[in-house]
Symmetry: C2
Subunit: 97 residues, 2 copies
């Protein structure tokens, strides 16, 4: 789960993930919420999922916009673990709506 994927593998996997893009060694997605409190509640949900996976996204909170940056720093790239976390974040977002 912690071996870097090739560019082609990342591109293929990204096509199955709605709303995610690649920037260098990170997968990035920004969500917007109707209120600051609902955005923070989403961060809480993602934090629990991430802690259970022992894989922690960088999170930027800009009022109602929440951005996640996923990368496997120890591997120096994007790994299957990042894709798994991206899918888990999407699932948490689907539950939130």
């Amino acid at each position: 789960m912690r071996t870097p994927l090739s560019d082609i593998e990342i591109q293929r996997e990204l096509s199955a993930l709605d709303g995610w893009s690649r920037k260098g060694n990170s997968l990035i997605r920004t969500f917007e919420f109707p209120s600051f409190a609902s955005g923070i509640a989403f961060v809480d949900r993602v934090a629990r999922v991430a802690d259970n996976m022992d894989h922690h996204p960088d999170i930027d909170i800009r009022y109602t916009k929440i951005s996640f940056h996923l990368s496997t720093h120890s591997a120096g790239g994007i790994t299957p673990l990042d894709l798994k976390l991206a899918a888990a974040i999407d699932a948490a977002a689907a539950d939130a709506t």
Copy 2:
């Protein structure tokens, strides 16, 4: 509360705030926590305080390091409201330890 402070006023007020520094039009402080979950719990506390003040910091979560950036965008500078929020974040941090 939403009128920008002068450079001298900001410098004087900063001297009374431990751990905060100024970068351009923002006040910045980074806290480090023993675990990811305890950092997220702190974000929750600060979020409630910020929502009550209707003044919301930018928040960067980097594993156990949490950074807050305070600025009054509508005023184009640092205002008394930012200093009040900085003090409130410090009080939340004092409660957390």
